[in-house]
Amino acid sequence: MSSGFDEFLAGTVSRESANEACPCVLGTRVRFARNLAGTSFPVRAGTERKNEVRKRIFEASKKLPELADAFYFSLEDLSATRRDFLIECRCISPELSGDGAGVVISRNQRIALMVNEEDHLRLQAFAPGNDLGSAWTSAREIEKKLADSLNFAFSEKYGFLTACPTNAGTGLRISVMMHLPGFVMDGQMEKIVRALDAVGLTARGGFGEGSDARGCVFQISNEYTLGISEAETLALMRRWTCDIAEQELAARRRMISRERAQFADRIARAYGNLRYAVSLTSAESTELLSLLRIACDADYFPSGTRECIDELWTEKDRAHIACRAAFRGIVCDEERENLLRAKLFRETLSAVRPPVFPDFLK
């Protein structure tokens, strides 16, 4: 058991990278919403009661071998920047804050339990790429073990009882983080969103509700939790995310063959800017990085480059820059943040050779 944020920070330096099989997918999350029976939900609970709930959930999870050596953080002990760091890692949602809120993060960062967000417990398991199966299995495992020592609020009719009725039932939300620049450039994203809606899925920005889709990253998840079983939810997500990935790749191929030279020009400029810039904002680097990721999938870069780009994807975020700098004793204002970000890109991309294109004059 540990609560040292610095230790956690050091452990986040080398992350697992996405698998090769699914170029459009950044990562997968399986989440269960649960509440303890016999105590008010966070929205109607005071600090004292929330603290008690947090204590109970922390104690229950310390009994699990998977989480015995995990990091246990109380949100009121974390600075705003450190909290943002956890949001950027997707360990916590932007909504998790305030007295009594907490988070348990496993050493490998595959499991994160949010305590006293909208519900007492939001149990999340993550997997790189589109590995729904492994995220599902580990979330399920942890949930079952926790249910042995925690009595979850449950009714025959509504299933697991949650603060918001949109989560009641299975409390299961599966989210797949998808990189969909092909649809966006093709002007098709709206159509996709409507199609998803028709089959019971929703698309949101990369950081969940109300967030924007920076760098063409969308979070696709199941909409319903009541009147649908876990197996159906899994099947639904599996099938549609594969369909979307296929369609997205087709859209990219169409775009690239339609405007080969222009596309190559954008890639080359994106590489040049990121490789040599002295100051980079978060927004600019996101846009450019998105282009480099497509270029990887179109084989303009040597294999292995996408892993490097995916690491930059999280490392370039504001709080990541600030926390890494603070770790080395550097205080970070906005100007310095942009300088440090550019340095990060210069150094990382110096190991990536420039993209190679065919001769368009021929």
Binding site: N35, A37, G38, T39, S40, F41, V43, R44, A45, G46, P94, E95, S97, E118, K144, A147, A153, F154, S155, E156, K157, Y158, G159, F160, L161, T162, A163, C164, P165, T166, A168, G169, T170, L172, D197, A198, V199, G200, E209, G210, S211, E223, Y224, T225, L226, G227, I228, S229, E230, A231, E232, L234, A235, L236, R238, R239
Partner: protein, 214 residues
């Protein structure tokens, strides 16, 4: 002496007082120095600013008790959960239950809300296997059920009802991997137009996470 104003955003003593006129209506805005600086009052377009304020005011920053009392101004609460004190007024606005017992207290509201936000009214997850009550009698013969679904799918495709077809296909997928699935019945809400459902859902969602992001 003028009365003491509190900052509309954080509740600290206000030192900046503004009067804005939006659509002929007068809005008074009181801010502490910090919040005034943060929101760069002068640069903000009026509507956006008041919008942001409204969000912040309704958002979860306030004490829960204070929330309940301020929101019941104007109309008496009809129902109050005896366990957690949630009222139907607050529930109607935020669509958040305060405790497990609220599900009984606001069952009417829930019945009305469910078709707009969920696929069905009845829990169909697999937790039954570990709770005391077993629903094993509901288990159906898988191959017969698959055949039934296959016929319905054929019909749906013939009628070009692709939404229904997609749902049926998912059910068949789920049946083919039966380890976690106990009971499969036809989806009940196929009659509803999805466009309508979407608009209500997003409203519910929004109101449940209002202002927290600010």
């Amino acid at each position: 002496m003028s009365e003491e104003y509190k900052c509309d955003i954080c509740g600290a003593p206000a030192t900046v007082h503004l009067t804005q006129i939006v659509d002929g209506k007068i809005h008074k805005v009181h801010l502490c120095e910090k919040c005034a600086a943060k929101s760069k009052v002068a640069e903000l377009p009026i509507l956006k600013f008041t919008e942001m304020l409204a969000k912040t005011l309704i958002g979860g920053k306030k004490d829960t008790d204070e929330l309940a009392s301020t929101e019941s101004v104007g109309r008496e609460a009809g129902k109050v959960c005896p366990v957690c004190g949630m009222t139907d007024l607050v529930f109607g606005k935020k669509h958040l239950f305060g405790c497990a017992h609220c599900y009984e207290v606001f069952s009417e509201e829930m019945t009305e809300l469910l078709p707009k936000i969920q696929r069905g009214r009845q829990y169909r997850g697999d937790a039954g296997t570990r709770t005391a009550s077993k629903k094993s009698s509901a288990k159906k013969d898988t191959s017969a059920e698959l055949e039934r679904l296959r016929l319905r799918l054929k019909d749906a495709v013939k009628n070009e009802d692709y939404v229904l077809a997609a749902k049926l296909r998912d059910e068949m997928h789920a049946l083919e991997k039966p380890k976690k699935n106990k009971r499969v019945s036809a989806p009940k809400e196929t009659g509803k137009t999805s466009a309508k459902r979407k608009s209500v859902t997003s409203r519910v969602r929004k109101s449940s996470s209002k202002g927290k992001k600010e």
